[in-house]
């Protein structure tokens, strides 16, 4: 009796089941990366099948260049971290300026934020590359400004603007009762901000901040367009020195995609995890 009802019930439950499955469907595991790796390997072997047997196999070539490409990628990471540091510091100041009680300062910071937020990253990168001097002097000492540092500064501009919005958004998202409570306890504005408001904001800012870092990391390849020798530039050089074989293109570019994926995907997963965790706790 029971089994028969169970059977007839199943069709009713099916759609609901399918839905619960798709609800958090980006709960994806390692195999994302594995698929990329497969594409990488498949295209390599496909290229191998096409190419002259005398020439070295595609996979061997990729293996030979791998250490250099990975070193270049570490350079990308270094740029991203430095730019994130500069951008976060400048963006926090700018964001606090956006919530300043001084209307003039508030408007000014708002404008700077919007200006750099609305500009494409690549344009800002060009802007920094061409308009920053190659060296500057402080107190008679000449400090050189190499290309990669200029690129880092160029990348930190949009980071700064986005950070500014994150700070403003986080502070505004706190219930006004927090300000009122602190005020009634005779805290000064500065004390309220540093002791009450900002500590609560850090939790809210963390997921969007990490998301921003992930976007920045992916933007570091833009530096190749302006001639900084990071991973994309190195890939181009590797391809050129192998004689520009078309069968090498797909494996090399897939490899670059793969290393970025391996670096950025865990960050994205962690961001989603934190978002959920903080959302529940409020």
């Amino acid at each position: 009796m029971r089994t028969t009802t169970l059977k007839s019930v199943l069709p009713v439950l099916l759609p609901a089941k399918a839905k619960s499955g798709s609800l958090f469907s980006f709960r994806l595991k390692l195999w994302h990366g594995i698929i990329l790796l497969c594409i990488c390997l498949l295209t390599s072997t496909a290229g191998f099948a096409q190419s002259d047997p005398i020439k070295a196999s595609v996979f061997e070539i990729l293996l030979r260049w791998m250490p250099l490409l990975l070193t270049a990628f570490i350079f990308n990471i270094a740029i991203s971290m430095l730019a994130m540091g500069i951008g976060t510091a400048a963006g926090t100041v700018l964001g606090l300026g956006q919530i300043s009680p001084n209307a003039g300062l508030r408007k000014f910071c708002w404008f700077i934020t919007q200006f750099f937020r609305n500009s494409p990253w690549l344009v800002l990168l060009f802007f920094a590359m061409f308009l920053l001097p190659f060296e500057f002097s402080i107190g008679g000492i000449d400090i050189p400004l190499p290309d990669w540092l200029k690129a880092t500064i160029g990348l930190s501009l949009p980071v700064m603007a986005n950070m500014s919005e994150i700070v403003r958004g986080a502070v505004n998202s706190l219930p006004s009762g927090q300000w009122e409570a602190a005020e009634s306890l005779a805290y000064s504005r500065r004390q309220t901000l540093w002791l009450v408001i900002l500590p609560q904001c850090v939790k809210r800012m963390l997921p969007p901040w990490m998301n921003l870092y992930s976007i920045l990391t992916m933007a570091t390849v833009l530096a190749s367009v302006v001639g900084v020798s990071e991973v994309m530039t190195t890939t181009g050089r590797a391809l050129a020195s192998e004689g520009g074989r078309p069968d090498l293109l797909a494996p090399f570019y897939s490899f670059v995609l793969l290393i970025f994926f391996i670096y950025c995907y865990p960050i994205a997963r962690w961001t989603v995890y934190l978002e959920k965790k903080f959302a529940v706790k409020g």
Binding site: R2, T5, L6, S8, V9, V12, L13
Partner: protein
């Protein structure tokens, strides 16, 4: 089809319903004549809401028969549109369409589903708004209305389809106490006009006042039923007694 006014308008016979392994309805039978007002009471989770959702085929049943004006609901070839023209429903959470004004909410189904003339429908809709005493709220969005007002719009919305029977699924359960009265009054008005109503409710005083017949359900079966005069004073089953003693 062959239904006549002397037969029950809604006839439920030996209905079984389960969600997975959990049996919600275990052989329910009841009849509702035209113009009757039926109240179904019982503890939470006793299957009351499921039962009336089965009447207009929002939930399907595993076994048994539900006839609405002679039309079998438990039938894979059921013409749901035909059924839902006859059976209106009002929900606990009002479920108004948030992107439409009160007037548009009422007009939408007659215009889109029944393809009635828009000007004609608007005239009827404005009359219905007057009937539920919401004059002046025609162009308000649901989000701008109180719970009681939203629920009255929902009642007007189902009336606009000109149904033969209306199902009320705990329509006052989500309301603030001060707005419960206005909704109950609207339902009472409908009952007095001779509308066939099936209510699931926790408002015992209201049930006693308007119901022609009261059914008490617990754990998927009808434990006891009778006219309100005798039901409340002469309950026989210990489960009914216990429930009534808790709630009265």
């Amino acid at each position: 089809m062959t239904w006549t006014i002397n037969e029950p308008m809604v006839s439920i016979r030996d209905v079984y319903k389960s969600f997975g392994a959990f049996e919600v309805l275990k052989g329910i039978s009841l009849d509702v004549m035209k113009g009757e007002v039926i109240c179904i009471i019982g503890p939470s989770g006793s299957g009351k809401s499921t039962l009336i959702r089965c009447i207009n085929a929002l939930n399907d049943i595993q076994k048994g028969s539900i006839l609405v004006e002679g039309q079998e609901v438990n039938d894979p070839k059921l013409d749901k549109l035909e059924l839902r023209k006859k059976v209106g429903m009002v929900f606990q959470q009002y479920n108004l369409f948030p992107h439409k004004t009160a007037l548009q909410n009422i007009m939408m189904a007659p215009v889109r589903v029944l393809k009635q003339d828009k000007a004609e429908v608007e005239k009827i809709a404005r009359e219905l708004i007057r009937k539920v005493r919401l004059e002046g709220k025609e162009d308000a969005y649901p989000g701008e209305l109180s719970g009681g007002q939203q629920q009255r719009v929902a009642i007007a919305r189902s009336l606009a389809m000109n149904p033969d029977v209306i199902l009320f699924d705990e329509v006052t359960a989500a309301l603030d106490p001060e707005t419960v009265g206005e909704v109950l009054q609207t339902i009472k008005l409908l009952a007095e006009e001779g509308m066939t109503c099936i209510l699931v409710t926790h408002e015992m005083a209201f049930a006693r006042e308007v119901a022609d017949h009261i059914y008490f359900t617990d754990r998927g079966v009808i434990v006891e039923h009778g006219p309100p005069e005798t039901f409340f004073s002469e309950a026989k089953d210990p489960r009914t007694k216990e429930f009534l003693s808790q709630i009265l």
